[in-house]
Symmetry: C2
Subunit: 207 residues, 2 copies
């Protein structure tokens, strides 16, 4: 059994979808950001980073979406969610997910989490104004150089697809016009029609 600690509308959705894609036996534990439950003493014992997602496994707790996605894929090889037997293809997949985590998600975080990197409310407002540019540049790169189609890595669906879908949920709120990146938008639409995606979103909102 795997236990996923999540919050709705966050990047934990990527791992949630991947758990369904893998056919994993899992349970969900909601962390309520409106009550800053991610900073509670009980949760910090599970994840000292005080963030979501975290996944409790029989061997211990994992954090960081790229690592959790690869763990899900490697633990359920029958679902063929990552090419572990091909070091170059696996590295390309991990490179994509690493970019989402360290560049795209970070750019997005400057809209609401400026306090992580500055102190002055004027700086937060300046950061917020730049989000459409910085997030937009990431999506331009994904559109033009990284998304192969029909799935992120080409013909094979992989753990990169729920991750891109999850971060593309935030396009409009980040001030990026979806029409500017039609291939990303088409990928998002196709993902949103997958039963595991609608089920994951419904579970998060119902929980």
């Amino acid at each position: 059994m795997l236990t996923l600690y999540y919050a709705a509308h966050t990047c934990s959705l990527a791992s949630h979808i991947a758990l369904l894609d893998a056919g994993a036996d899992y349970e969900l534990r909601r962390i309520d950001f409106s009550k800053t439950q991610q900073q509670s003493a009980d949760y910090v014992k599970i994840n000292p980073k005080a963030r979501v997602p975290a996944m409790v496994t029989p061997r211990g707790t994992l954090t960081e979406t790229p690592a959790m996605l690869a763990f899900i894929a490697q633990s359920f090889p029958g679902a063929q969610l990552a090419p572990f037997d091909d070091p170059f293809a696996f590295a390309e997949l991990q490179s994509f997910n690493s970019y989402l985590c360290s560049t795209l998600h970070v750019a997005h975080a400057h809209r609401m989490r400026g306090h992580r990197w500055a102190n002055d409310p004027a700086s937060f407002a300046d950061m917020q104004r730049k989000v459409p540019v910085s997030v937009g540049a990431c999506f331009d790169l994904i559109e033009g150089s990284m998304l192969r189609g029909p799935w992120v890595m080409g013909s094979a669906y992989s753990i990169a697809d729920p991750y891109l879908f999850t971060l593309a949920q935030w396009l409009e709120a980040d001030g990026v016009d979806p029409k500017r990146i039609p291939r990303v938008t088409e990928h998002r639409s196709r993902m949103s029609e997958r039963p595991n995606v609608t089920r994951a979103i419904a579970e998060e909102l119902a929980n």
Copy 2:
């Protein structure tokens, strides 16, 4: 043959050390940041992200340090730089490297690269002032919860070690007192005595 595009004093050092640890056949290509060579038309053809590192392989080009490090480890299994046959242990290693990439390196980048996320020089100054706090908090977490010792993942040296060493090179410039994190500092000292580490640094400065 692998070709590593690097710049001295950047995170490309981690992959460089790992190439030596792996016993890989490689060549170095220096990208001169003082001439903004990372944005040159020739280099952007190799890496559209206009950053280092990039590694050209017989199959294509890889970017993103966590993915490159895993590729090196998986391509040279004899060097035993990552536990690929143990999904949980491999995920723990990837989680560590992902944290360095997406949280520690990002916090550090706010000292010199504030323009990525804001426009106003006053915001850049505010970000710079916060770097000792934000980078310091990352190293506190590494010191207290993540670095197992003697190596990052415990008794086995891995691709996490050159990566932590590389980012710990920046401690003093980021305004973090090394005495505050004695285990990280001891790890850095032991790493700096490894022949592959002194060789990698010498090659980067000589090139």
